[in-house]
């Protein structure tokens, strides 16, 4: 069961996750990050790295988050690999505070 980036990444895109990925499985666009489910080795190193707890193992997703499995798979195939930290989106800190982290 691969890991997936869920909704909390929207509006943040902090990208601390990409630094900890041992296999370069993070992809991204202007909006958010995605995990390539084929490349992910399920090590979970990215989970504590995310300041807004956006990353979960598929098995831990709630019902309303299950859609992210497919979105991650689909989007990661059409977006570039991101290996270095990017500038978070404008308003990321506000969103982080609003999410309670």
């Amino acid at each position: 069961m691969p890991h997936v980036v869920t909704g909390n990444c929207n509006g943040c895109r902090f990208t601390d996750c990409v630094l900890t990925c041992p296999v370069a499985c993070f992809h991204g666009d202007d909006q958010r990050m995605y995990i390539d489910p084929i490349a992910c080795v399920d090590c979970a190193a990215c989970v504590p790295a995310c300041p807004v707890q956006a990353i979960s193992e598929s098995a831990d997703l709630s019902k309303d988050q299950l859609m992210w499995v497919e979105i991650n798979a689909e989007k990661s195939s059409s977006t570039p690999v991101i290996r270095t930290k990017q500038t978070p989106l404008a308003g990321a800190e506000e969103r982080r505070a609003a999410l309670g982290f």
């Binding site: 900890t20 296999v23 080795v41 399920d42 979970a44 190193a45 990215c46 790295a49 707890q53």
Partner: protein, 457 residues
């Protein structure tokens, strides 16, 4: 400007240790804007450190990270120099002659002891020995573990403890198709273990298992996990720790413990997860017979609760005990060392090395920050260390350094037969070929002499 990092005077860096942190440091250096040559010097003839010798054989996906390292190794300005041991085959002074800077990435290979009477009697082992043994590490190749007793105790509740537990709990058929060492598979086939005790000083909320590994313990084909339901009755401080939004794994793990507490034993083996117990004395005449433990209680504020003895003693009978209660790095000749933390003192990855004067030395991975985090954690750590190194670059001695030609020549003088990455690929192919008829991803060579023989086959 000293002109280092250009085609005329490439930045030449030696990295000591070829585990994850060493390879990620190499990656960060090779991706920098400076022209850099990187040599990884490794004590063994084979690369990848704990990816090869720490990751459990039944976690093959995790071992795939080695493919990423092989890709780094194919960079034209990278070299692997295996079978070259720091302090024995080369010194810091010699690295200073050959390179502009060194990065130490030697890890934390030593087990901490329990510090209780009797812990050295036969049947008591360190997890590093057991893990090294089943993974075919040459240093642990000739150890012997006795699986003739029905009961075994594992001290510690981290991911290494759980790996050890799983290897003991699985049937030989479940392990047969992994890259577990042949000698381990053979010995485990004779195992009479029925009951595995996994001991933690603190409670279910503080246990450091990752959810994934804990869940896996509940899915073994021959072993049922159990938790005493009484240990899941929490006081107010534990409840507030459980509901800490910064620690989302805690409630997930707690749910899993709850499911373990309501299990009935149906399988041949069982794993009892004990909380609030601290080992006090290992007893036995010729070998371990029982472990005496003291019940503990938690004191202190939420997030910083400590286990203290509560006075009541209990005894668990067992013929084998494996401890996994923390790891420590080993000191390196000429490099300051913090005995208490088991790390090399550093500031943002820069070590305070005074001799040879002016030689910049850096650290990364477990020898830098202690044994925390998992494989990927080291990538961020190594990138940070390399950022420090590159920021220091203007202060490096401007003189060009000879790099690998000189270091390989030096090793040849010492009659140490160094192993190149190409040599390793030959060993790798040979191991895979040996594994093929057995249905294993590889059958590792477990002696240095065998590795060297295979490297030039």
């Amino acid at each position: 400007m000293n002109g280092i990092g250009t085609v005329d005077n490439p930045l030449r860096v030696a990295i000591v240790g070829s585990g994850p942190s060493g390879f990620y440091a190499a990656e960060a250096l090779l991706q920098s804007e400076h022209t850099t040559e990187v040599d990884i010097l490794e004590r063994l003839p084979v690369p990848y450190g704990l990816v090869r010798y720490g990751v459990a054989p039944d976690h093959p996906r995790l071992k795939d990270v080695a493919d990423t390292y092989a890709e780094i190794a194919r960079h034209p300005r990278f070299s692997f120099i295996g079978n070259a041991s720091f302090g024995k085959d080369f010194t810091l002074k010699e690295l200073a002659d050959c390179y502009h800077a060194a990065i130490l990435a030697t890890g934390a290979a030593t087990d901490r002891k329990l510090g209780i009477p009797g812990e050295d009697i036969q049947g008591c082992h360190a997890a590093t020995s057991f893990v090294g043994w089943y993974n075919g590490h040459p240093d642990y190749r000739d150890l012997e573990f006795d699986f003739s007793s029905e009961s075994v105790i594992i001290i510690g509740q981290g991911n290494v403890a759980i790996d050890v537990c799983r290897i003991l709990a699985k049937s030989v058929d479940e392990l047969r198709k992994t890259d577990i060492a042949a000698h381990a598979l053979e010995a485990l086939a004779e195992s009479r273990i029925r009951e595995i005790h996994l001991i933690g000083r603190r409670g279910p909320v503080q246990a450091r298992f990752t959810t994934k590994e804990l869940r896996e313990l509940g899915q073994l084909s021959e072993c049922d996990p159990f938790v005493d339901p009484d240990h899941l009755l929490l006081g107010d401080t534990c409840k507030s720790e459980l509901n800490d939004v910064r620690e989302p794994a805690r409630p997930r793990n707690f749910e899993i413990f709850r499911s373990f507490a309501s299990r009935r034993q149906e399988k041949r083996k069982c794993c009892r997860i004990h909380f609030l117990l601290s080992p006090r004395e290992a007893r036995g005449r010729l070998r371990l017979e029982e472990l005496v433990l003291e019940r503990t209680r938690l004191v202190g504020p939420a997030g910083r609760q400590q286990a203290v003895g509560a006075g009541q003693m209990v005894s668990i009978k067992a013929g084998l005990m494996i401890r996994s209660v923390g790891y420590s790095g080993s000191p390196l000749d000429g490099v300051p060392f913090d005995e208490k933390l088991g790390t090399i003192p550093n500031k943002d990855g820069r070590a305070e090395v005074t001799s040879p004067a002016g030689f910049p030395v850096y650290v990364t991975g477990w020898i830098k920050r202690g044994p925390t985090g998992i494989i990927g954690t080291n990538r961020a750590d190594s990138m940070a260390t390399v950022a420090t190194l590159l920021a220091d670059l203007p202060s490096f001695g401007a003189q060009p350094k000879p790099g690998r030609e000189a270091s390989v020549a030096l090793l040849a003088q010492r009659s140490a037969r160094s192993v190149s990455f190409q040599n390793w690929e030959t060993i790798d192919q040979a191991e895979k070929a040996r594994g093929l008829p057995l249905g294993k991803p590889r059958e590792k060579f477990t002696r240095i002499s065998e590795m060297l023989a295979a490297s030039s086959a």
